[in-house]
């Protein structure tokens, strides 16, 4: 059983079909025990569906997945003892207070009445919710709800935690608090599998990242490996005279050694920027050739560009919008 201690999650060929929509279309994932694994993808990529299958909430139509060596379908009840799930949408009872929620989930996790109360208080304290503990959830802010949701997932101190878009909709301060919490979880020995739409977040937290798009893994690796394949940032140039375009492109190729993207209106040139130091050389070269610029900007890669690079197409808009 050496493999089961090495890998918190091993999934091969996961498929989920809704009607004629192949929401997840052959996903392979391997999450090493004790690491943070990020699943990065745009809306509708299938992130939630993958998590739901791994968390025993949804039956895969094909493929096979194990959690610490236990099959998610045949040993579902065992898997449920090993995981904590914080879904994309708050999975707490809206009609109850924070304390009542945590008490209920503690009881369901097999704790006694006194233990449950102690656990609830401990978690409320830990997540800064003590002051709001007795208030109905209706008056909770998005951030408070998220924290309560995460707290509820930690009751049984699960060795594997699924977090589906843990920071979507949070303000920057609350987001960085959530990041700290996730880091602390990992430092206590938990394995975390999280999904996100933000490249930055995956970069900050995850040891390895899988990029998924339309139900498939299109890239997998460490944040550095992915960024290397995408280019750290991009350099945008706007020329005074569009006629200089070919000369400018040639200069960029020879100085930076990279291919460029041309905007349809032709005056804007975008080039991946691996080494900021070389920009000076480029600018000197352009000056020597008398190519004048109207604009010079450095842009960090957006998710859109990651996808453009990895999949050959941008983040697709919803089909309905295209048809309408």
């Amino acid at each position: 059983m050496a493999t089961s201690s090495d890998w918190a999650v091993e999934a091969t060929g996961l498929v989920k079909i809704f009607g004629d929509n192949r929401a997840v279309d052959g996903v392979d994932l391997r999450v090493r025990t004790g690491s943070v694994y990020g699943v990065l993808g745009p809306n509708g990529a299938g992130k939630t569906t993958v998590i739901r299958m791994l968390a025993t909430l949804l039956r895969p139509d094909a493929g096979h997945a194990t959690v610490f060596g236990h099959d998610v379908q045949h040993e579902a009840q065992i898997v449920r003892q090993l995981i904590g799930v914080t879904g994309q949408y708050a999975s707490v009872d809206e009609t109850l207070s924070a304390t009542e929620n945590l008490m209920l989930f503690s009881r369901l996790n097999g704790l006694g009445r006194a233990e449950s109360r102690a656990k609830a208080n401990e978690l409320l304290e830990e997540f800064g919710l003590t002051a709001a503990a007795k208030r109905p959830l209706k008056n909770f802010s998005g951030g408070m709800r998220r924290r309560l949701d995460l707290a509820a997932s930690l009751i049984s101190q699960p060795p594997l935690i699924f977090l589906d878009e843990p920071t979507t909709g949070l303000d920057p301060r609350t987001r960085s608090q959530m990041w700290d919490t996730i880091r602390r979880l990992v430092s206590t020995g938990s394995t975390v599998l999280l999904t996100t739409q933000y490249l930055d977040e995956a970069d900050q937290l995850a040891d390895r990242i899988a990029v998924i798009d339309t139900g498939r893994v299109v890239a997998e690796g460490t944040a550095d490996e992915l960024k290397a394949s995408v280019g750290k940032s991009s350099l945008q140039l706007r020329l005074l005279d569009p006629a200089d375009r070919d000369d400018a492109v040639r200069a960029i190729r020879s100085v930076l050694g990279v291919d460029v993207t041309l905007s349809p209106e032709a005056a804007r040139i975008t080039a991946p920027m691996q080494d900021p130091d070389r920009i000076t050389d480029l600018l000197v070269a352009l000056r020597e050739q008398n190519i004048s610029l109207t604009e010079l900007a450095v842009q960090k890669p957006t998710l859109d560009e990651v996808f453009l690079t990895l999949t050959g197409h941008g983040v697709e808009t919803e089909k309905e919008e295209v048809n309408a």
């Binding site: 610490f68 009840q77 449920r80 090993l82 879904g87 949408y89 109850l96 989930f105 699960p158 020995g189």
Partner: protein, 273 residues
């Protein structure tokens, strides 16, 4: 936020079981029932149907039909109160299905599904909590009847037994609506289907009027309708203090309903849960 201090026990060193014991199922069900009661305390308006409906129906029917059917109000009450009781409590059992559907559509149900608890606990808990609703409806109906002048001849013991019989039968019926709850698209469609079933069952019975003035074909239906047997059984118990054949027929009907719908429900529910 303070620090999370305790370290996590690793996934492979834990003691794990892939099945849920009976004891745990019972404990989980009681936790879920407790949740049901907490919800009622938080949203007392949920209880309108079991409090106001018996009051309004009893008073309304007494004064509308009392004179016409039984000559005067006082002699209509022994006929009416058991009818109203059965109708009210049975109608209440629809709520089980509606609330189950609402629950299943909410995020919290995902958490229930992700916990190592008995799959059936959310339903068992709901069924347990619902007996509280039935008890409220039963008590209020008898109390309103008493205020209007109803004096059951059977005495308190038999009145309580009559109440228990109605609660047991409604509990059995709630499996039907729980089944609708799982297969229906939305909570409001559960309500729709359920009333379509319940309306003929409660009105095409002897609940409000004696069946002997009805046309023959209708009498035939009314006489086989299990609701009629339940109403007759309650009348026997509360008004006379006897346990008649209808009592056993009503219980048999309840058992048949559970025998059919519990497996149907569990199959449909397990597929979704």
């Amino acid at each position: 936020m303070t620090t999370i201090t305790s370290t996590i026990q690793s996934g492979v060193s834990r003691e794990l079981r892939n099945h849920v014991s009976v004891g745990q199922t019972v404990r989980n069900s009681f936790s879920m029932a407790y949740r049901g009661l907490l919800k009622v305390r938080r949203t007392p308006e949920q209880l309108i149907d079991v409090t106001l409906q018996p009051i309004i129906f009893t008073v309304m029917f007494t004064f509308i039909f009392g004179g016409a059917i039984a000559g005067d109000v006082a002699s209509y009450l022994p006929l009416l109160i058991p009818g109203i009781l059965v109708q009210t409590v049975i109608t209440t059992s629809v709520v089980t299905g509606v609330q189950l559907r609402e629950d299943m559509d909410k995020g919290v149900f995902d958490r229930f599904k992700s916990l190592p608890i008995a799959r059936i606990a959310p339903l068992a808990g709901a069924l347990l909590a619902d007996t509280v609703r039935y008890t409220i409806a039963t008590t209020i109906t008898f109390v309103v009847g008493f205020i209007l002048g109803y004096r059951p001849e059977g005495g308190l013991g038999f009145v309580v037994l009559a109440g228990l019989l109605v609660i047991v039968c409604s509990w059995a019926l709630s499996w039907i609506f729980a089944f609708f709850g799982v297969i229906a698209r939305s909570a409001s469609s559960v309500q729709g289907i359920s009333f379509l079933v319940l309306f003929p069952l409660t009105f095409l019975s002897n609940a409000f009027v004696p069946s002997d003035t009805m046309p023959g074909w209708l009498q035939a239906f009314v006489n086989v309708n299990p609701v009629s047997h339940l109403v007759s059984a309650v009348r026997d118990l509360a008004n006379v203090g006897t346990i008649g054949g209808d009592f056993w027929l009503a219980l048999l009907g309840a058992a048949v309903v559970v025998a059919i719908f519990a497996p149907l429900f569990v199959r449909a529910y397990m597929r979704k849960a």
